[in-house]
């Protein structure tokens, strides 16, 4: 019997997906940071001591194998070893500070309070491990503590040295090695007392300059003394210079820099509010320029995401959460006209003005090109703080007219200008976006807004979602459907109205855990940090531009 006529088959899609990056623009900034500035670390790598700890986990595991005269092991053996020691690490860390930030698996971790009869069970995987790529394992390899050799991991000489240095704390103190024995055995429970005895040695905490691990960790992160591995030499040096730049900026801020946003402000405006201009030393000037290109790209991205969120909000109010493009554009144009912010930048009745005229008004408002970054920063702040749809639309449009000037008005020999080509049209890179905007100089602002919504937001979201669908992931936030675009998934505004992952948070945290900086009403250099900065300048003197 024929199956026709019949109902169509359902192809499962997960409309309640966990996707992010709906316009796919983030890859550019992340790529710049990951490849040219802070390779090897992420915002998840906050505590430097994890590197010594994991090195020690490997080291003790291999020692145990050697003791048993074995050269091979099964996957689960290492896994069990890791679980036991991480449980101890977490219990020890949380015993000192119950709310310790940045401890992987903290919420589900076993604490000493979970002990029964004075003993804590440590052989069960109860919490997430820190040794996963999204946390420390990828970074562990990138910083050359360990490396793959076929299917098995090995410690590098650096990892071996770190493991030894970590272990030396136990070995160097009377009785500690004995205390450690049950921890390194296969027993499922260990006593609370044992954990307390080795608590300070094993827990996650800052590493002070007088500890054995410190110079090794410094070298791992900053490559001050040693020449980095040949293959990835430039990556390590780039990270080293970027961290040097961060130290220099903290020194410049002298307590007024408190969070990554302050760094972004300097990259955009060239200074902190009320401070003189920040001038990087020549050793770190290259990285500072790259950060500026990163920052310039962010303004374009935020302008597009500003409009994106208004579209999502609008669709969420429509019947069937669907609206045709014309309706979406009408909604945006209506709010555009009401934006007092836009009026202050572009003038009255700007919808009928040409893009060239609106652009000129904005540039007049800015003054000269050197103030463009600061102006964009202030518009970005307004985009975040504006309460009305109209002003959010207005801020986004101003950003989108400003951003192209970072490309089109900059000299051809602007350092690292080519970073604005990164990602090409598929990521709406700044150079291409600037060309596109330039080709619309004679359009009215209404036509311009129409184009941005159609081509740079709606079409872009479809393009990205379809690319992801082609590899099997349903990641639509809006979808072309009957009667226009349908809202599939709302998105947290904060998530996409932020700068691309800059890894600055991770970098600051690592520097703090090396006691190079301290938090004292803002970030300040310690004496060790100041010394390190000097050493870094000397280290990179030869490569200064």
């Amino acid at each position: 019997m024929s199956e026709f006529p019949g109902w169509t088959e359902y192809q499962p899609t997960d409309e309640d997906h966990q996707g992010v990056y709906p316009l796919g623009l983030e890859a550019v900034g992340s790529y710049i940071v990951g490849h040219y500035l802070l390779p090897g670390i992420t915002d998840a790598t906050r505590h430097i001591r994890y590197y010594s700890f994991f090195s020690w986990v490997f080291w003790t595991f291999f020692q145990e194998l050697r003791r048993q005269g074995r050269t091979t092991y099964k996957r689960d053996e290492f896994f069990n070893w890791l679980v036991r020691l991480e449980n101890v690490l977490r219990a020890a860390t949380l015993d000192t500070d119950r709310k310790f930030i940045g401890l992987i698996g903290r919420s589900k971790a076993l604490t000493l309070e979970d002990a029964k009869n004075g003993k804590l069970r440590i052989d069960q995987e109860v919490a997430a491990s820190g040794f996963v790529p999204a946390a420390y394992s990828a970074s562990f390899a990138a910083l050359h503590c360990g490396q793959y050799n076929g299917k098995r991991a090995h410690l590098t000489p650096r990892g071996e040295a770190l493991g030894l240095a970590f272990n030396a704390q136990f070995a160097g103190q009377n009785g500690k090695a004995d205390v450690l024995r049950p921890v390194l055995s296969k027993s499922s429970h260990i006593s609370v007392k044992t954990i307390k005895d080795i608590e300070d040695e094993i827990r996650i905490r800052p590493v002070s300059p007088d500890e054995n691990e410190h110079p090794l960790l410094m070298d791992m992160l900053l490559s001050i003394a040693s020449e980095p591995d040949g293959n990835e030499n430039e990556l390590h040096l780039a990270r080293s210079r970027t961290l040097g730049l961060i130290l220099e900026m903290i020194d410049y801020g002298n307590g007024t820099i408190a969070e990554p946003d302050d760094f972004h402000r300097i990259f955009a405006c060239g200074r902190l509010k009320g401070h003189p201009k920040f001038s990087p030393s020549s050793e770190f000037a290259r990285e500072c320029e790259i950060w500026k290109r990163y920052q310039e790209r962010q303004f374009q991205k935020l302008g597009l995401y500003g409009l994106w969120h208004e579209i999502l909000d609008f669709l969420s109010t429509r019947p069937r959460q669907t609206a045709p493009t014309s309706e979406i554009v009408t909604h945006m144009l209506t709010h555009y006209e009401r934006s007092s912010f836009l009026k202050s930048w572009v003038g009255e009745s700007s919808l009928s003005k040409s893009v060239a005229k609106a652009d000129r008004n904005i540039l007049d408002h800015v003054g000269d090109h050197s103030k463009l970054g600061a102006a964009a920063w202030s518009v970005n702040e307004h985009l975040h703080s504006a309460a009305s749809v109209a002003d959010r639309v207005g801020s986004s449009v101003v950003l989108l007219l400003m951003a192209p000037h970072f490309w089109s008005d900059s000299p051809n020999d602007l350092p690292h200008r080519q970073l604005h080509n990164l990602g090409g049209r598929t990521r709406l890179c700044l150079s291409i976006f600037a060309d596109d905007v330039h080709s619309r100089q004679n359009d009215t602002m209404a036509q311009f807004l129409f184009w941005v919504i159609e081509s740079c937001v709606l079409a872009q979201s479809s393009r990205i979602a379809l690319d992801k669908l082609a590899r099997g992931d349903f990641r639509f936030f809006v979808m072309r459907d009957e009667s226009g675009y349908r809202l599939i998934k709302a998105q947290d505004r904060k998530q996409s109205l932020s700068f691309d992952a800059s890894r600055l948070f991770g970098a600051i945290s690592l520097l703090r855990s090396l006691c190079l900086i301290r938090e004292d009403e803002g970030l300040r250099l310690t004496s060790s940090g100041r010394n390190t900065l000097k050493k870094l300048r000397i280290r990179h003197e030869a490569t200064a531009t």
Binding site: F4, T8, E9, Y10, A27, Y31, F79, R440, M479, R503
Partner: protein, 911 residues
């Protein structure tokens, strides 16, 4: 359940005609289109409602007008059918569905589909297919705004269906069906009730997501089936059914809300009407919602309805299955209400309709109609947008009554070369300050006509270029590589080729007017035409596959739209918890990907070298020229391609490709054969012979070939790394370019085109090429700049002196030679006193780097030959016959033709 995409894929159609109310064209392009272009013509036409067409401009569309025709249908109401027709040589398959051409329609919604097939073995649906053909005819007749190409497609389809059903026994009456019904001119309800005895119907099941505000369609159906109970299944959506309007039917009506069918959270979009009589049941499926627009009105009438298409089937126990497994929930009629949803209309197309916008031979022709003329005059502006980049075009408009025709010149603009969809916006600016606007996807007939296989090739190259290059650079590289790979599939020599044996065709004289009866060795290598053709096709397929793999490999290496951002992309080490699949690349995996990409590139380039070599073995024939003329362009493009890939993969360029690049250029363009022991490139040989000369010039004169040949060859030569001033081989190649492009064709337009091209090539070279360097390579070629030509004058004058017929000729030659090469003159005179014939001309051995002394016919040693060819040695005496060796074979008409071109005095000087 029916997997619509799988069914479509199985069709492997040659032509497809798709009609849908709305479309997710980016979804269609990504997931459906390629399945329709695997065989035959791969021609695809998509008709959508005009309102939805406007939405398409905000979709991520890349192939409309390039790989498929997209046409809006602007009816009084909606163009609502969902009809997907696929045809191949002897089969037509029509899917009549409720599913729009969207992702939801094909994958998520609960949709209903029927299928009608006619093939030599299956003729049962012939009547329905003929009724479908009638719909196409009605559309052609009643709808005035179709483009010519769509009209042609509709007519062609009608003809094809008629041809297919010609021998089928078509029943003209009878209720069993299947029947294809549409409401172009007659309301559906009238037609349906003419087949179904309404009074005999006991139960009517109506499944629909949408209803009209007053439930008029349902009430009319209730009137038509007065004895039936009605079961209505509606979509689970607030405000879609007016309960108050159904009060009069309350006694014989139940309403249910659709909750699901099978797995998943599905929205009801299927439209089904089941009429159950005591013996026979009828099922109607298709596009018609339970609305008055769908059921009660024809599409072409004063009070028009939507255009709908359904299939009616009759039989025992039909339809039971369709309603049996639906999960529903009963609802009280009183609780139902109807919400009006008002949709604002767009300004586009309200008073200006563009029928077609066709880009052909450098001109964009837009035809349309002005529906509402406003007071005053208007000024026309035309802008084309492609990939976000807008280009304003100057245009000329003419109007005949309401018909509008606008022509804009686009040659020289980036869009004319690009293979991405572009939109034209036509704006009429009226003197009263208002504007009328319309937009349209531009059709490219030259690309739409490409067969499926060629389309695949170009698509695969495009994917790679998109990964590697920015827009403009990517496009010119894509064009060069794409054309090369596509065209090699068609490389076959039509007719008889020119050969040296003389038995195929009597060789005409060379193009020089000088009488010369000498036998010329033309092609040492003759390749069988069929062999070439088969090689070309397999090469094309192989190249397409390689390029697809390469695109995929590069996509994983270059910044991709991933949700796993490179925040933590560094490799993992050691164990990971069992439950967490590591989404990140490890170093080996990363390296493997690079290695894989690198190997693919090597394979692609290996194929290119092989293809070029094979092409250069093709016999001289006019039919081969359109392909071989593109070879230098392709060599340059592949050189740059290789460079960019290496840059992306962070690898150094392999030396063998540089070697091959030079070798291929020599095989194509070198004039080095003017000196014995050297080689004439294929195109240079083609320039030399009358049979191919004119065709070559015709091809070269084409603006693109001319400019591309110069620019790409200059780029390829510059990639050779030696520098033109020191590189005798490349000097000969550039002399070949100068020879066949000819200075006389140089005008400002072409100069500008070359200049633009050179800029693009510099940009795409990852910093390897400099504009200044390319300009140097393209410096106008005079004989002094090419080693192979530099010493020609003194040998020409010596030859003239030696063959002088009158004392005057003798004196003139002596004077010239005295000033050019006094030592040569002295040596000649000295020898003349000893030998009556003191000159020994070198002969032949083309391409083999071998030469023979014409006096004693002995082969010269390589060392001696090199000394003879070296321009710095004034003259060389033969070791064997002790005569002066003349390195130019003046008996070879190719040599004389080339020397004449570069050294005009030659025609007077030579005999």
């Amino acid at each position: 359940m029916i997997a619509l995409e799988r069914h479509i894929e199985a069709e492997q159609p040659h032509r497809s005609l798709l009609m849908s109310y709305c479309s997710g064209l980016s979804f269609f392009e990504h997931f459906i289109l390629s399945r329709l272009q695997t065989a035959g013509d791969g021609a695809v036409t998509v008709l959508v409602d005009a309102a939805d067409y406007e939405n398409s401009f905000s979709d991520a569309i890349e192939r409309a007008g390039i790989d498929y025709r997209l046409e809006p249908v602007r009816l009084s109401r909606r163009f609502h059918p969902k009809l997907y027709l696929f045809t191949k040589s002897d089969t037509a398959t029509l899917f009549v569905a409720s599913a729009n051409l969207t992702k939801s329609g094909f994958r998520r919604n609960a949709e209903i589909v029927d299928r009608l097939v006619v093939s030599p073995k299956l003729v049962g649906d012939a009547r329905a297919l003929l009724q479908y053909a009638e719909l196409l005819e009605s559309l052609s007749a009643l709808y005035a705004h179709f483009s010519k190409s769509v009209q042609y497609e509709l007519a062609r389809t009608v003809e094809f269906i008629r041809h297919l059903t010609h021998n089928a026994q078509v029943e003209t009456v009878g209720p069993v069906g299947p029947l294809f019904l549409h409401n172009a001119t007659t309301p559906l309800l009238h037609q349906v009730m003419s087949f179904i005895p309404g009074k005999d119907i006991n139960e009517v099941v109506l499944i629909s997501p949408y209803f009209d505000p007053g439930c008029v369609a349902i009430r009319d159906l209730a009137t038509a089936c007065p004895n039936a109970c009605f079961r209505i299944i509606r979509a689970d959506e607030d405000g879609n059914l007016n309960g108050a309007a159904l009060k009069s039917l309350k006694e014989r009506l139940t309403v249910e809300t659709f909750l699901g069918y099978g797995k998943g959270n599905r929205a009801l979009h299927g439209k089904v009407a089941i009429f159950r009589g005591s013996i026979t049941s009828w099922v109607i499926t298709g596009s018609a919602n339970l609305t008055s627009s769908a059921w009660l009105r024809p599409a072409f009438a004063n009070e028009a309805g939507n255009l709908e298409a359904v299939v009616l089937r009759g039989g025992t126990d039909l339809g039971t299955e369709l309603a049996a497994h639906l999960r529903t929930r009963k609802v009280a009629i009183d609780a139902l209400h109807y919400l009006h949803v008002k949709t604002p209309e767009t300004d586009f197309g309200r008073d200006l309709v563009v029928h077609d916008a066709v880009l052909k031979r450098g001109f964009l022709t837009i035809t349309g109609v002005l529906l509402h003329r406003r007071a005053g005059q208007y000024r026309v502006s035309v802008a084309v947008e492609q990939n976000g980049l807008r280009t304003d075009l100057s245009s000329e408009a003419s109007q005949d009554d309401t018909k509008l025709r606008i022509v804009a010149r686009v040659s020289g603009k980036a869009i004319s070369d690009s293979e991405n969809s572009c939109v034209v916006t036509v704006q009429l600016r009226w003197t009263n300050g208002t504007t009328s606007e319309a937009r349209r996807w531009i059709s490219r007939p030259d690309l739409l006509i490409l067969p499926a296989s060629e389309r695949r090739t170009r698509s695969s190259v495009r994917s790679v270029c998109q990964q590697l290059f920015a827009d403009a650079e990517g496009q010119i590289i894509l064009n060069a590589i794409g054309k090369f790979i596509s065209d090699i599939g068609e490389l076959a020599i039509e007719g008889d080729s020119i050969n040296s044996s003389g038995n195929a065709k009597q060789q005409d004289k060379p193009r020089t007017a000088k009488p010369d009866q000498s036998e010329i060795s033309l092609d040492g290598f003759l390749t069988n035409d069929l062999e070439v053709k088969s090689f070309g096709r397999s090469h094309r397929q192989h190249a397409a596959t390689l390029m697809e793999q390469l695109a995929s490999a590069l996509r994983r290496i270059i910044v991709e739209p991933t949700d796993d951002l490179p925040d933590d992309e560094e490799p993992e080490v050691g164990q990971v918890p069992k439950d967490e699949a590591p989404p990140h690349k490890n170093p080996t995996e990363k390296e493997n990907k690079r290695q894989q990409a690198s190997e693919l590139v090597e394979e692609v380039l290996g194929d290119v070298v092989q293809a070029v070599d094979k092409a250069h073995l093709a016999p001289l024939h006019p039919s081969a020229i359109p392909f071989v003329i593109k070879v230098p362009e392709a060599i340059g493009a592949f050189g740059l391609f290789r460079l960019r890939v290496n840059s992306v993969l962070e690898q150094s360029v392999a030396n063998d490709f540089s070697y091959n690049l030079r070798r291929m250029l020599v095989s194509a363009l070198s004039i080095d054969g003017v000196m014995c022991g050297g080689t004439f490139g294929w195109l240079v040989r083609a320039w030399c012979y009358p049979d191919t000369h004119d065709e070559l010039l015709r091809c070269v004169l084409n603006e693109d070939y001319w400019a591309n040949l110069r620019a790409f060859t200059a780029a390829a030569v510059s990639l050779g790394e030696i520098g033109i001033a020191e590189d005798a081989q490349m000097q000969s190649v550039m002399a070949g370019v100068a020879l066949i492009t000819g200075a006389e064709f140089l005008d400002d337009d072409k100069r500008a085109k070359v200049s633009t091209l050179l800029d693009h090539l510099v940009n795409s070279s990852s910093g390897k090429l400099e504009r200044k360097g390319l300009d140097t390579v393209l410096t106008p070629m005079i004989y002094q700049n090419a080693l192979a030509l530099r010493s020609a004058p003194r040998w020409v004058y010596l030859h003239r002196l030696h063959t002088a017929a009158t004392p005057q000729e003798y004196d003139e030659a002596t004077t010239q030679l005295e000033s050019l090469a006094p030592s040569l003159l002295l040596a000649y005179k000295r020898m003349r006193s000893r030998y009556s014939d003191p000159l020994a001309y070198l002969r032949g051995g083309e391409g083999t780097h071998a030469a023979y002394c014409s006096y004693d016919n002995l082969r010269l040693t390589n060392a001696l030959l090199n000394r003879v060819r070296a321009v710095n040695s004034d003259f060389v005496v033969c070791d064997s016959c002790h005569r002066l060796l003349v390195p130019y074979d003046f008996a070879d008409p190719r040599t004389t033709a080339i020397l004449e071109h570069f050294f005009p005095a030659f025609s007077q000087a030579a005999v």
